[in-house]
Amino acid sequence: MSLRFMVEAVNDALHVELARDDTVMVMGEDVGRAGGVFRATAGLRDRFGPDRCVDTPLAEAGILGGAVGLCMAGWRPVCEMQYDAFSYPCLDQLINHVGRYHWRTRGKMEFPLVVRMPYGGGVRAPELHDDSPETYYVHTPGVKVAIPSTPADAKGLLAAAIRDPDPVVVLEPKLIYRNERAEVPEGEHVVPLGKARLAREGSDVTLVAYGAMVPLCERAAEELEGEASVEVLDVRTLKPLDEEALLASAAKTGRVVIVQEAPRTAGFGAELAAILAEKAILDLHGPVLRVTGFDVPYPYWRIEDAYMPSLVRILDAARKLLAF
């Protein structure tokens, strides 16, 4: 074990996986010479050479489309999208090809590529450096989506994504890239896709979240100590979703608050709420509540705190539900 920031754990995973499998390569804008704008790919070019940590032209669709071809040539490309909102040009490739090509070959060719990117708000950044685009990715058939909330999971989920035979999008919450060091296993560390993590056990209400909203929910749980016993479920893999863990927690507490940064309408929280409505209705003591961003362009950073789900908004929702 060693203490690492989340972004250091990402870097560690890339070093370990490139050393383990010489078909794994990293590609993206500024990933080589600069080591990534967040330093997530630092040291890879020096250690593995410019053919395995490649500075590409500034072209997100070209990067992901190129990665499709690289897969066909036997590579396992890990593509960095520099920022959440800058990934949108690659959606064309993701939707039209990445999620469909294995199916097109009737299962004969695999496309084991990874798209990873820093995402989310609260970092006082210029416009379009703050988005939470997970729903676009989750909604794309043929693609899996993971979001870590701890340094250890950032390493383990990325390793699992790289080794997975299907395309996986890994969204890394940049708000907590460097906020706190935590224990990360040395060497090979894999956290299987499709398994949620019970971040905190409780019996009165469940806060369901992913990414940077998990530590916020944990703080809310602490605030409510003495008032209510709060469970925090970290979704970790949005697709395939660990429905069992969600339903088990709902059955246990009977009260669920879902927290997401993304705009509310048709966000991932809506999917979680729909599953609870379909499969857990008789376990619930009250409505499923959502604390989310709003259906507006992500605001100027001087007022972004009003947009982001906050401690007071989560506490308010939890208390409303407890009093229902």
Partner: protein, 353 residues
């Protein structure tokens, strides 16, 4: 940085100049003819099958056979082809059965193949989005130290797409062994080339990527072959990509759902039809004394038989099983697929109702 000569504007020609191409003997010249005839027969029969309701919507490639056959014959067997839908049947030249391609146009899952079986990538429907695939693949084979060359086909309209630009640029920057083959038939459904670009010639785009560009008469199978062979040789020797602009004219509708009379110059179409590529090549071969009535008839009969057998096989295939809806969406599918399928089968009771 590289210094490249501006793309040539003069169309390269062989047939109209009564030239011969180095390295082509009687066997090769007749092979080209067989390939063009097979493609032409596939296309003409497909239009009939569509009208008979035996295949779905179909995109014709009539008068594109010289571009497809000429360029495909310039490749080695291990080289890769990345087709657009306009080249849907180019796999015939690589041994993909006619039934497979007919299945594709019949909306049957058996219409997809394993690209690695024939070194032919899947048919790309959205315009130009496969150019980055070809660039990435070609770059990937180069990184592995292989000597494979790839070719990607796209139309004049595709050169307006961002994907074309990103793919062409990536291939150029990585010096990928790729031939960017532009089938300039001068129409993107109803949009003429003049509304697509202000460039005097599409080949001018090549110099912007720092790569060589050539322009060739797309109705001249030998000129297409010669220009593509040069590009393939350059790529295989480590010289990176080449942009080949093959200039032709779309003498058929865009597809079976299109009626071009609303926008096209009907006179010009008739003129192009009189000079269509297969007839031009037949006249050339006859002049050389390589093609007579009997041989022509037997090659055409052979191609017709391929199509007769192909459609018979496609039509004899059983309807796809409902379970195929879920099959191959993932290599490692989520657990929910099994329960979704079980539920669907329960409701459908074993049939699509």
């Amino acid at each position: 940085m590289s210094q490249v000569a501006p793309g040539e504007h003069e169309l390269r020609r062989v047939i109209d100049e009564d030239r011969e191409v180095d390295g082509l003997g009687e066997q090769e010249l007749l092979d080209f003819y067989r390939s063009m005839t097979l493609l032409r027969t596939y296309d003409e029969r497909s239009l009939v099958y569509h009208r008979q309701g035996r295949i779905g919507t179909y995109a014709m490639f009539w008068n594109h056979e010289a571009m497809q056959a000429g360029s495909a014959h310039a490749l080695a067997a291990g080289d890769w082809i990345f087709p657009s839908y306009r080249e849907s049947a180019i796999g015939l030249l690589r041994g993909i059965p006619a039934s497979t391609i007919l299945h594709w146009w019949r909306g049957h899952p058996a219409g997809w193949w394993n690209p690695a079986d024939h070194n032919v990538a899947s048919i790309c429907v959205p315009i130009g989005t496969h150019v980055p695939h070809a660039a990435g693949f070609a770059w990937g084979t180069k990184l592995k130290g292989e000597k494979t060359v790839s070719i990607v086909y796209f139309g004049d309209g595709a050169t307006s797409e961002g994907s074309f630009h990103e793919g062409a640029n990536l291939a150029a920057v990585m010096q990928a062994p790729l031939v960017l083959f532009c089938n300039n038939n001068q129409w993107a459904i109803s949009t003429p080339l003049s509304a697509q670009t202000r460039a005097e010639a599409l080949v001018d785009k090549a110099s912007g990527y720092g790569i060589p560009g050539v322009r060739v008469d797309g109705g001249d199978v030998l000129a297409v072959f010669e220009a593509t062979r040069e590009a393939v040789d350059r790529a295989r020797a480590g010289g990176g990509p080449t942009f080949v602009e093959a200039v032709s004219y779309r003498a058929a509708p865009h597809g079976t759902a299109d009626d071009p009379r609303a926008y096209i110059d009907v006179e010009r179409v008739e003129q192009e039809k009189r000079n269509e590529c297969l007839g031009r090549y037949e006249r050339y071969l006859r002049k050389l004394g390589l093609l007579g009535d009997d041989l022509e008839a037997s090659i055409k009969a052979e191609a017709l038989e391929v199509m007769r057998a192909g459609i018979a096989e496609a039509e004899a295939a059983p309807d796809p099983d409902v379970g195929l809806v879920f099959e191959h969406a993932y290599a490692n599918p989520p657990a929910s697929f099994a329960s979704d399928l079980a539920e669907l089968c329960r409701i459908l009771g074993g049939g699509l109702g």
